[in-house]
């Protein structure tokens, strides 16, 4: 039975705020940084992004080629598994749909699962269906400025409907896979899918 915390009142959120908060989250106006190690720094002259198909076929964009793709402005709420949520964050990036259709022209075959790989060795897994139909981007601007390195710049994955560890910072490769495989945090006790509205924080959460 849940014990009542004697004398605890808490801070009730206005209704509009409460409705936007997934269970167990609180709103912050700040933008906290959560990273497992040092912030990698890569020169844009060597940066590239690769989409690798299930058959090993791949497509690669240099920075200049990447930012020349059609870009979108995105305003979304984001939810970190460490409990904070931030409303109305504004980004600019390239839709994963755009990358997939460009890569398909070069014969890159998509698969049902994706493993994102980042500078510094970070990885995370996301089903393809969660990256397509306007649900995810590779973002390179935050607000109207280049995305700062500590927040994942030069470019990060943005999958706002999942916990934010899925939005891999410093992303360099999306690899299509036939079957799901856990990434970094997913191998260390965090949930394989990570839906904040179902509070799927840790392995075993339903």
């Amino acid at each position: 039975m849940t014990p009542i915390s004697r004398g605890f009142r808490g801070r009730r959120q206005p209704e509009g705020v409460a409705a936007r908060l997934p269970p167990g989250q609180y709103e912050t106006r700040d933008f906290p940084v959560l990273s497992a190690g040092p912030t990698p720094r890569v020169s844009l002259s060597v940066w590239d992004l690769t989409l690798r198909g299930t058959d090993g076929q791949s497509m690669r964009w240099s920075w200049d080629e990447f930012v020349a793709l059609s870009r979108e402005k995105i305003t979304v709420d984001i939810h970190c598994v460490t409990k904070w949520s931030k409303f109305g964050t504004s980004w600019e990036g390239v839709a994963i749909d755009t990358l997939i259709s460009e890569a398909a022209k070069a014969g890159v075959r998509a698969g049902p699962y994706v493993l994102a790989r980042s500078d510094g060795g970070y990885t995370t897994n996301v089903p393809l269906a969660d990256l397509t139909n306007g649900k995810a981007w590779i973002a390179f601007n935050y607000g109207d400025a280049p995305l700062p390195p500590e927040h994942g710049g030069p470019a990060r994955l943005l999958v706002p409907h999942l916990y934010f560890w899925k939005s891999a910072k410093w992303v360099r490769e999306l690899r299509f896979m036939e079957s799901d495989a856990p990434g970094f945090w997913e191998s260390l006790g965090y949930h394989i899918y990570g839906d904040p509205w179902r509070e799927q924080r840790y392995a075993g959460d339903e």
């Binding site: 849940t2 014990p3 009542i4 915390s5 004697r6 004398g7 605890f8 009142r9 808490g10 801070r11 009730r12 167990g24 609180y26 912050t28 106006r29 700040d30 906290p32 940084v33 959560l34 990273s35 497992a36 190690g37 040092p38 912030t39 990698p40 460490t82 409990k83 904070w84 510094g120 060795g121 500590e150 970094f184 945090w185 191998s187 260390l188 006790g189 924080r201 840790y202 392995a203 075993g204 959460d205 339903e206």
Partner: protein, 259 residues
Amino acid sequence: MSAAVAGARIAWRVATVANVVRETPRTRTLVLDVPGWPGHRAGQHVDVRLTAEDGYQAERSYSIASAPEDPKLALTVEELDDGEVSPYLTEELKPGDQLELRGPIGGYFVWDVDTGGPLFLVAGGSGIVPLMAMIRHRNSALSAHAQAARKLPVRLLYSSRSWDEVIYRDELAGLVAGDPTLEVIHTLTRQAPEDWTGLRRRIDREMLAATSWPASETPRVFVCGPTPLVEAVATALVELGHQPALVKTERFGPTGTVS
């Protein structure tokens, strides 16, 4: 560890407060009895959930301060000025009160004696908490296997705003006095006692170069504190030649003030 076992949900457990220890003006250690606690590794954290009379709930994460060998679970909590949960934990909670928690959580920012050393720890303010669990764990191991632990020397570089805000100050001094393989270097950033002869500035690259083991000795490095401190320290350590994979970090917010 239990936290990583696929399929086993990490259950909410009812913890009972055994003791509340005043560490500094702004921090308290909650010593908890947690029936069924599955054990933890030094560096892990827990989720704490409070429930108001009308059913409203609030959750936050706190680092574990106690060694895995300790029969009671200790959390050290810093009171945040505009906090919703921390002022309740530090000001209101009394022995006998109950709260819910689940854990342990986190499988990366962890160290145990099997991981090896030397161990270089860098703390800013309440970032000391998970690092103290590592120091306490090593001390337990040192008592049991003195020879083995000598191969695991530890240095802690610890930045605080003032001498009064140094968490675990007396315990650290006591451990250092009895253990030549443990070194603690304090730096004070805002205020220092008149007779202070130690470091008196924010942690910078020069300070890290002077206090850390050289990268060639491949120390295991753990850095915990406010984001600007951790960013600066981790970046400087990589510049000094440390392998990024051996530098593990935990940043806390939401405030970004450097202590």
